[in-house]
């Protein structure tokens, strides 16, 4: 498995045992493909074995799969399932995320999931193995599960269901259930799990805190999806998928009228069929698209032709027709995207508007008019998201997660570059402890954005002091003094700041 190229879709179809092939509503081409399916020939190899092109094979296999005749040994996946030996540390919770991905694999009851070292189950404690496993399974997911997931509850579970789930969980995870028994390292693990389920219970059973948490989760899901969508559309994944789909559709339409040239598909687009990576394929497709429109305009009127030439012409016209269909389909797709974007904008869903517009821009080969619309939508999306990040930040700040709050406010400030938000970032960064550089950076931004504010300068001074930048702090104190602020409190504050008593 480890030899898989994670970017390539590789599937190995195999026959479903006991399926009655003769009863399937399929044609000769599909039956031909089916006859070549043996459980070891890969999808790409089937192209060579049948002489059909990849798209057609994919379509046929899809249909056969739907009919229950075949199954795929390896479902398409972007990543191999087993945890990598050295997961790239891309974020704070990165290791845990790897763990969760691994968990999504169908759990095999005989084997512990790859969350933890299975030898942890062997610790000599007075707990049955099933209980140990249950404890470890939850323990190693504590940071990634939502309050709902930890109780295996749906988001709309009512208060009673939450209470019941909590009491059930208490009965399993409270250390007193095992009083006087040797629990080894499981005791502190139980205590951690217990504290977490209690937190989840306390948050979810109070209407106000639950609403707040739900809002937070929704916002988090939304922003995460968006971040991923943007990332993907920037990588061209979705464009790639769209183009493939367009091509498949065009080929299918061609196929109906081109039964006399069965070899058409194989040679028609060798460049992008063979291109190993999606980017190259995408380039090949767009090259083709451009070439077609130019070629059509430049072609001279035809003379009477030889048989050879006639066949060539027929092929050309067939190809032109095919490409015309692709173009037509593309234009239709662009129009559809624009329409979707318009609808999204009307519904104030700036995020999906941005994503669809970006696809339209790319499909259109960077049409300037579309580009302008995209930029406008992006601006609105940022402003819109800013509020969501702001709310997230506020929740995180309230629940004492200052590091998360710093990050959220930072993102909010990206959408709305206002002094108030810069100051928020700085304040949370100060309280997060670990983020003094961020505190100083954003403290400065806030002061720059609104030089007349004493409050923002105070934050900056605290950041300077925290970061040990005493002279910068003193300079800032002098600046405030020069502003001659009113009130005894601020004077006292400045005095203490000067003595480093903050």
């Amino acid at each position: 498995m480890s030899s898989f190229d994670p970017t390539q879709v590789i599937r190995v179809p195999s026959l479903v045992e006991g399926a009655d092939i003769r009863a399937l509503p399929i044609g000769p081409e599909e039956a031909f493909v089916l006859s070549r399916v043996d459980g070891s020939t890969r999808e790409s190899d089937l192209c060579a074995a049948t002489g059909l092109d990849e798209a057609r094979i994919e379509e046929i296999l899809g249909r056969l799969n739907k009919l229950g005749a075949i199954q795929f040994l390896n479902e398409p996946t972007r990543e191999p399932l087993q945890p990598r030996p050295h997961p790239a540390p891309t974020g704070l919770h990165r290791p845990n995320r790897t763990i969760v991905e691994a968990v999504k694999a169908p759990p095999s009851p005989a084997q512990p999931s790859a969350l933890y070292d299975p030898s942890e189950l062997d610790e000599p404690v007075d707990l049955v193995v099933e209980r140990r496993r249950r404890i470890l399974d939850v323990f190693y997911k504590l940071d990634t599960l939502t309050h709902y997931q930890i109780f295996e509850l749906a988001r709309d579970a009512d208060r009673k269901a939450i209470k019941a789930a909590y009491f059930d969980a208490v009965n399993v995870f409270h250390p007193d259930r095992y009083f006087g028994k040797n629990l080894g390292s499981f005791k502190s693990k139980l205590e951690r799990v217990f504290a977490r389920i209690t937190e989840a219970h306390d948050v979810l059973t109070r209407a106000a805190s639950r609403a707040e948490y739900d809002e937070y989760l929704a916002a988090q899901t939304m922003t995460r999806e968006l971040e991923r969508a943007i990332e993907e559309s920037e990588r061209g994944d979705q464009l790639e998928a769209t183009l493939r789909e367009l091509q498949v559709r065009a080929l299918r339409d061609d196929g109906a009228s081109a039964t006399d040239s069965p070899d058409l598909g194989v040679r028609s687009t060798p460049e992008y069929d063979m291109a190993p990576d999606p980017d190259a394929r995408r380039r090949a497709i767009s090259r083709k698209l451009r070439a077609v429109s130019r070629g059509a305009a430049a072609r001279p009127r035809a003379e009477p032709l030889s048989a050879e030439e006639q066949k060539r012409q027929a092929l050309l016209s067939l190809r032109a027709r095919h490409e015309g269909r692709v173009n037509q389909a593309r234009q239709q797709q662009i129009d559809q995207y624009v329409k979707m974007a318009d609808e999204a904008l009307a519904a104030r869903k700036f995020v999906s508007a941005t994503t669809t517009l970006r696809l339209a821009v790319q499909l259109s080969g960077n049409d300037p008019a579309l580009r302008a619309r995209l930029e406008e939508a992006e601006q609105q999306a940022h402003a819109e998201l800013s509020d969501t990040y702001l709310a997230q930040g506020a929740y995180e700040e309230r629940t004492g997660r200052f590091l998360d709050a710093t990050r959220s406010y930072e993102k909010a400030a990206r959408g709305k570059p206002e002094a108030k938000l810069f100051d928020k970032v700085a304040q949370c960064a100060l309280r997060a402890g670990n983020e003094l550089h961020t505190a100083v950076e954003f403290g400065r931004k806030a002061v720059r954005a609104e030089p007349g504010s004493v409050r923002y300068r105070q934050t900056l001074i605290q950041a300077y002091l925290g970061a040990g930048l005493k002279s910068s702090a003193l300079a800032e104190i002098e600046r405030i003094e020069a502003m001659n602020p009113e009130g005894p409190e601020i004077k006292d504050w400045l005095k203490r700041a000067k003595h480093g008593e903050l």
Binding site: E191, T198, N434
Partner: protein
Amino acid sequence: MERVIGIDLGTTNSCVAILEGDTPTVISNRGGYKTTPSIVAVTEAGKRLVGHIAKRQSITNAENTVYAAKRLIGRKWKSPQVENAIMTCSYTIVEGPHDDVRLKLRNKVFSVPEVSSMVLQEMKLIAEDYLGEPVKKAVVTVPAYFNDNQRQATKDAGAIAGLDVIRIINEPTAAALAFGYGKDLDTTIAVYDLGGGTFDISILEIGAHGVFKVISTTGDTFLGGEDFDARIMDWLVEGFKEETGIDLRQDRMALQRLRDAAEKAKCELSQMQETELNLPFIISTGRNEALHLQRTLDRATYERLVEDLVERTVDICRQALADAKLGVGEVEDVILVGGMTRTPIIQEAVTTFFQRTPNRGVHPDEVVALGAAIQGAALVEDRQEMILLDVTPHALGIMTFGSNFEELIPHNTTVPTQRAKIFTTSRDHQTAVKIIVMQGDSSKAKENELLGEFILTGLRRAPKGEVEIEVTFEINTDGIVSVSAKDLENGKEQSIQVTASSGLTPDEIKHMLNNADQYMVERRTDEKFEGLRQEADSLMEQVEQMFPEIERVVGSADFGRDAISKARAVVAKTRTAITQKDSVALKEQVEQLARTQRMFKGVVARSE
């Protein structure tokens, strides 16, 4: 299987219970009472008295009789509560070696846990008498609002009494356990617990699997039945002063009589509309004439005297509900705990506040011990399905720069729990940081209770604020607090288990445990000796009564004179054995006496 007893160590009375099968049962003491006064005294002969017997002699031996030791347990010498006790208590309170409190009784100094251990030991004996087997394990209750030092001191008292206190639980929580045990409830209740010295209110939720979850708890360790007594005493003292110009507070014996009378009057007013306080010869005027105190107190006057105390408890109830984020209507049952809740004005106040009649199904004096016994059984017996989720009554945190208190674990947090926070250095080039662990609810560190401290060293020399230290607090299921501090730069870590201080060192506890053991041996020997002595006394009396008759019958014969002189020798030896407290010799002489008595009887019978 080892039995676990539940002990309600109260301010004025204590109670012991056990789970018999599935029935929680209170064990009566030798006198047949279900509760035993938490009173300890030392007699002139150096004899230790506990319970009713100590209470009976408290007036004549006021200076050597300790009551309400619970008010002093785990307290610092310099606390206002101790200062107040020094002013009002009839026994002598002295400063201990660790800023703690000691009590002086007959020139011997006792620590407070030691005194409490005598009560616990008495409860242990009551249980052992009943069960006919030694008891080693106990669950002991404390007021919910006790801090960790007070809890630790209570635990130490258990250790001195030879008990392994497997869990300390809160009194109102225990009451809730007893209320909900075996009922398969799904409800929210409030426990109003006004004891002799403390007031607690807890809001709990009872759910599936016998889970009892405390939602909030709050209270006042300076508010209890004794404050109500004190109001009556004040009223008596003021009245007497107006009448005679004499301040009864100056006389300790008078004070003790006043206290007893006040308590009695308070109890009577729960039943009657008025009561008479009659204390003849309360004090001598110095002109060789004694004055009497005689007054009538009616319920209305009494209620006026204590009105503000009742109102204070209601305010605390309001706070508990706010902490629990519940409305009054969401509480489905109210349980009253503590003898004070028999007072009509309190029942009225509770009914008015919670808008429902309090539950009358529990016995206010016994319910706490029953709950403790239930918890003990639930812990050690697998078949008992019951889990208690209690909360921290006070916030835990550390002292930060400028003597501020930085909270890490807020009050009403369900335990076990863990919390962490990042702190930075407060001075330039600071290479060590002292972590001072505190408990309390004030933002000013000095107003909170110090639990322990440790030093994290080896920090990088850097301008202040640059080095970051992560402080983690952890409270485990047994209520033990662990604090660790980690230098985030170099990963260096230092941690302590915060052993709250009872004011005693482990050595002292060991020493006291030995003393207590020795005392028990002596006490058992004493009891045995006492039995022998009584037997000897009665035999000697009978033998001596028969001497003239025997002399008349057989005095002329040699064997007769011989027998008589032997009998006289036995009596003399018995007397010596008694004065020397030699129980081995006494036992021997008792047998001799019995033989002599039988022989004399035979002689007399034959002669007739």
